[in-house]
């Protein structure tokens, strides 16, 4: 198929984002920026895996953070009990995926036959139950406080990846080659691998079947595709990826609690990101995650600066006070949806199509 100029632009933007993320530790040398970059990596994977459901197959689920949480808590609980080590991380990832798969298969087989709205309600119920369970089973999960633990030794800030002649940690462009850097690249490359895998899925024959189900479920069934099996499968696959993303994030944060991995606030973030970026494009996940995470971290600062700069003028500084950042985020969201009805990537890719 011929590419539109819009598609080319979107791909270039995504490539630029990938390059910025790859060199983030060298380009933005402070703790907070690296925190933002790692969060962006994780959310790209999380949102892309959600896009497999909502954008490609037309399944609406509210249980995506639940799977993310299983992966995070799997690693967190095992790192806490077994001590910091790769065995704990790997077992945690496997445990998270296993629990996710059991629940995804159960929810899928029980309810993917019913109408979309009932399915969405069932996922909402399952996610609520898990959220309550996690806060109640505080011996295991730390309840509302969550769990703090240590990551594998490789990721300790004191770890020296390379040393110079004096035995001090080597610096490249003034960046210490320490455990923090290793941890970031663990996040980056895990996310990259998962994202590229998903990109392959959607381009494959399987991906075309998913689109067919979204477009016309009855006809997909009529030409010979077992729709329930495909939907259950993609629900499981999406849950697996979300769970793995949760494990990676837990290793990076060295803390797991309801607010970092399970809350409905994250579910809403995912929904906003996928809508802002554009459903059914994969690239939309990248753009949506970058914009949303950046806004969450920097909109307040930006507004604070703007408010100070306009100190002399009446009303405006008040309007731009940092406390009102959520108000402005809401307005930006409404404008984005109005001007980019298919999301930023979706709308851009449709541009320049007509010859």
């Amino acid at each position: 198929m011929k590419q539109t100029t819009g598609t080319l632009v979107v791909k270039l933007v995504v490539l630029a984002i990938a390059a910025l993320l790859l060199f983030a530790p060298f380009l933005f040398q402070n703790v907070r920026s690296l925190e933002v970059a790692a969060r962006i990596c994780i959310f790209i994977v999380l949102v892309a895996s959600y896009d497999l459901l909502i954008g490609y197959t037309g399944i609406v689920s509210f249980a995506h953070t639940m799977f993310f949480g299983f992966g995070a808590y799997g690693a967190a609980i095992l790192l806490k009990t077994m001590g910091p080590g790769w065995d704990a991380v790997i077992l945690g990832a496997i445990a998270g995926v296993a629990v996710s798969l059991v629940l995804a298969v159960a929810i899928g087989l029980l309810s993917l036959r019913v109408k979309a709205i009932f399915f969405a309600m069932i996922t909402l119920a399952a996610a609520s139950v898990v959220l309550v369970l996690v806060s109640q089973l505080s011996q295991l999960t730390g309840g509302e406080d969550g769990i703090t633990y240590r990551a594998p030794d490789l990721f300790k800030p004191a770890t020296k990846l390379l040393t110079d002649a004096d035995g001090k940690v080597l610096r490249i462009f003034d960046v210490r080659l320490n455990g923090k850097l290793a941890a970031y690249y663990f996040v980056f490359f895990s996310s990259l691998i998962l994202f590229v895998l998903m990109l392959r899925f959607v381009r494959s024959p399987l991906g075309t079947v998913l689109e067919a189900i979204r477009e016309n479920e009855a006809r997909a069934e009529a030409i010979g595709y077992r729709v329930v099996a495909y939907r259950t499968f993609i629900f499981c696959l999406s849950a697996t990826v979300a769970s793995l993303a949760g494990t990676v994030y837990a290793v990076w944060l060295k803390y797991t609690g309801p607010d970092t991995s399970l809350s409905f606030a994250i579910m809403i973030d995912i929904l906003l990101m996928v809508v802002i970026g554009g459903m059914g494009t994969m690239w939309g996940a990248v753009i949506g995650a970058v914009l949303m995470v950046m806004a969450q971290y920097y909109l307040r600062d930006l507004m604070g600066a703007a408010s100070e700069a306009l100190a002399g003028i009446p009303v405006l500084p008040e309007l731009l006070a940092p406390d009102r950042w959520l108000f402005w985020l809401g307005i930006i969201f409404i404008l984005l949806v109005y001007f980019f009805p298919k999301g930023i990537a979706g709308t851009a890719m449709a541009r320049g199509a007509r010859s």
């Binding site: 024959p205 075309t208 009529a222 010979g224 595709y225 077992r226 495909y230």
Partner: protein, 254 residues
């Protein structure tokens, strides 16, 4: 005569108190084209839905080459070689014409679960899809979205999807409905070609009498969900009872 490929035995479906198809027993044979006629509401499309699986019978059975398929899902029946084109156009609107057809080819080939290589690298699938594009004269429209096609071309794509499934049983539900005169012959030619293959069974719901005369080896008449007449075209069209319920009322309109 050869053994039948498709048999419906006492096939019945009730919607509440209404019996839409009532104890229809009929056998269809390879190499035979059967036209199903009847006034509106006679149960023709419902009968089709019972055979291809969109509806499940209240009682009676459907067998394909000796296998009971009465309770199977539509996709399982499709994999058993029953292909269906719909009366109301029923496509994948946001996908291109080529992608639409390739989906049907891919379903037939059983490649739907392949997930690690891009679909574009499956040259065989695309080549076959292009073959059916050519056969239905849709090649110039290959990269148009199905939703953007004119009605006549959407009808052709509907037929192309059925062709690409390469079924044993072809079921056409008014394939030329709403088609302009320059499009209809393309579709009728295709049906002629399928009919020429002695291994294929063709079922056709059709109102236009010239089409019925040109294609039918056999005609069955449904009326109020019941099988009213069954036989060679000349015999059925000549019978008084058929004239009364059907031909008398709608030949002028057709």
């Amino acid at each position: 005569m050869s053994t039948p490929s498709l048999v419906t035995q006492d096939l019945t479906i009730r919607f509440g108190g209404h019996v839409a198809v009532n104890q229809v027993s009929c056998a269809f044979h390879p190499g035979e084209l059967t036209v199903i006629v009847g006034p509106n509401g006679a149960g023709k499309t419902t009968y089709f839905n019972l055979i291809s699986g969109q509806l499940t019978a209240t009682s009676g059975s459907v067998t394909k080459d000796g296998t009971d398929i009465t309770r199977m899902s539509p996709s399982a029946r499709a994999r058993h070689g029953i292909g269906r084109a719909f009366q109301l156009t029923n496509l994948f609107p946001q996908l291109t014409v080529l992608e639409n057809i390739r989906l049907a080819v891919q379903a037939r080939a059983g490649d739907g679960w392949r997930m690690l290589r891009p679909v574009s690298s499956f040259r065989g699938l695309t080549a076959k899809a292009e073959h059916y594009l050519e056969a239905t004269r849709l090649t110039p429209l290959a990269h148009q979205k199905a939703a953007n096609l004119p009605h006549g071309d959407q009808r052709k794509l509907e037929v192309a999807l059925l062709m690409a499934m390469e079924p044993d049983i072809y079921m056409f539900d008014e394939p030329t409905a709403g088609m302009s005169l320059d499009h209809a012959p393309d579709v009728l030619d295709l049906i002629h070609q399928i009919k020429a293959d002695p291994t294929k069974t063709v079922l056709l719901v059709e109102h236009k009498m010239d089409v019925v005369r040109a294609l039918a080896d056999r005609i069955i008449v449904l009326h109020n969900g019941e099988l009213l007449a069954d036989g060679p075209p000349a015999e059925v069209m000549g019978s008084q009872i058929v004239r009364d319920v059907y031909l008398g009322t709608s030949e002028g309109a057709a």
